[in-house]
Subunit: 334 residues, 2 copies
DNA sequence: CTGAAAGCGCTTACAG
DNA sequence: CTGAAAGCGCTTACAG
């Protein structure tokens, strides 16, 4: 446990002042080549690594971006996190994650720790933290949100073309001859869930089909809720030949429920998800779904934040969605 | 963007010295109740949050634990990360993640940034960073590894009972009457992969069955490699009725390959994985697999590190494995 | 119990 | 181009 070398150690060894060492470290000041070389040699020799927390204190900026996420375990947040990492790469900023676990208290605690660590910017991934609190934070440090809406801070929120994606999905089912199409929705207070349901409704209406409330069941975006919603749907006894789920995870649950009932996909029931998680390529059969690239959203969130940090407008693009036709959808039988 | 209040601001407002403010902040020194109350009131009034980087500098400890992971996207690392978070909860330490993406350069960079940020301890998740380098780091700050072995630092590495888990899995297949059992292995340089293959071999041998090299194909732990390995296996033309995959992800790929070939699971081929990822409950049909709780491993790694930080021995328990029989295995036909 | 002082490791005006 | 000085925000001996 020997002490780490400091700037002073390097200065001594290179026969210069700490100021000069710092100058070669930051590189934004001219230094005599000979001294610079000596400093570099000393750094090499002592295997010196500047203490970033000390630098952060001196500079008043930490070069770290706080990422308030909800779960480290879900595929959804994992892809988002990866996208943010990508977007931050090479910027000099490092991302630090803290999870809220969809619990207000945990979320508050995670946010507090991030703020106390003096993050230079914040990316909020979903969650329930109040809009007012988020707006207040945005007055102190730049903030971008993904997977949630913040009233009055719309241009700091990544927008996804949910309705058009859903529309395409349901249109695809209609084109395959389906007329009785069920919808398992997400958390209704969630903007994404509403928009996806809207796309569903619009696709039906525009095709001259009636919207049957008995074919709509609410879920909460988890596999488990998809399975449960399917049970509810089946219990109602209304006939249907296809299901459009508001996300892939629920589609997985629905898929299992169908399997349990001996209903074949896509022979008996067609199934469409939303998200296109990495795993959807490997379900049996591979899932037809609407892709909204989480990687891209993460990347754009990071870039937007970087722009904000450079005092530019966030200029967040709207995320397009695209129907990916795989093997859970087929022409209706009979 | 008003300045954040500092200890001095609080001191001024509460009519005490900064020292006293610090004393009530840390709480490890007696302070007159009246002054303490005044300080608390001032903190409340100004909504003061102590600057953790400054504190870290003063104390010489950051209270952050670096976690060198490989990917933020995989289910596997996600569960591990969650476990670490759980294990660290309430300890005052915060985890900071940096990913190596299974690339030496990225891994080195990720490690450098973690070290430069003065982490107080390090948890290494998989990866290729050389044992010697890791041993050197362990001389400076405590280190624990998960999903990898470090020569000479065995008691700092989480050990999983791979062989016994594999043994049980293959034994289960044998009990169902299978005699021609294929194995799709992981990366051979990986200790886990070797041990799992050993369990497979031992189960066969102990049942008096011969080990047929043509029934063993090497994969690299990805879904894609599972699919490819299955193709290789099928191309060899050797008969088999069951497959034991070295991890769940490869099992997913194999499952897809089987589906493509029109081979039913478990009717035609039985399939067993290893890991029991969250998603394995929702595959079609649900996957029979060997559980090694990643959550538990993460938790134990965190606790072990906390012990090391308290100058106690790591005392890492061995992680038990357990066969979880679901629906991809059945009695052999005929 | 409490304040003044010194220090954590780095950086940037400030004078040469 | 370069060194001495001051400061970032906090904490902990050091003297009362």
């Amino acid at each position: 446990m020997s002490k780490q070398p400091t700037v002073s150690d390097i200065a001594r060894l290179a026969h210069v002042s700490p100021s000069t060492v710092s100058r070669v470290l930051t590189g934004n000041s001219r230094v005599h080549p000979a001294k610079s070389a000596a400093v570099l040699a000393a750094i090499e020799q002592l295997n010196f690594r500047p203490n970033l927390t000390a630098r952060a204190l001196a500079l008043g900026k930490s070069m770290v971006i706080g990422i308030l996420t909800q779960s480290m375990m879900s595929q959804f947040y994992g892809e988002l996190a990866q996208g943010i990492e990508d977007g931050l790469a090479g910027s000099g900023y490092q991302g630090v994650f803290a999870s809220g676990h969809w619990e207000s208290l945990d979320e508050q605690a995670a946010l507090d720790i991030l703020l106390a660590r003096q993050v230079d910017g914040l990316i909020v991934l979903g969650g329930y933290h109040p809009d007012t609190a988020l707006r207040a934070i945005n007055k102190q440090i730049p903030l971008i949100a993904v997977g949630r809406h913040i009233e009055g801070l719309e241009d700091h929120c990544i927008r996804v073309e949910n309705a058009s994606g859903s529309f395409q999905a349901v249109r695809h089912l209609i084109d395959l001859g389906h007329r009785r199409i069920a919808h398992i929705g997400g958390i209704p207070s969630h903007l994404d869930a509403c928009e996806r349901q809207r796309g569903y409704t619009e696709a039906l209406t525009s095709a001259g089909l009636a919207v049957d409330e008995r074919l709509i069941v609410e879920g909460n975006f988890t596999e488990q809720s998809g399975l449960l919603a399917l049970e509810t749907l089946l219990a109602r006894g209304s006939h249907f030949t296809a299901i459009f789920a508001a996300n892939d995870q629920m589609a997985y649950g629905i898929r299992l429920g169908l399997y349990r009932r001996g209903l074949r996909v896509p022979d008996d029931i067609s199934l469409v998800g939303f998200d296109d998680l990495l795993g959807s390529v490997y379900t049996t059969p591979p899932l037809t779904t609407v892709r909204q690239s989480m990687l891209e959203q993460g990347r754009q969130a990071a870039r937007g934040l970087l722009r904000l940090l450079a005092n530019e407008p966030p200029a967040l693009p709207s995320i397009t969605t695209e129907l990916v036709i795989r093997e859970t959808t087929a022409r209706v039988r009979g």
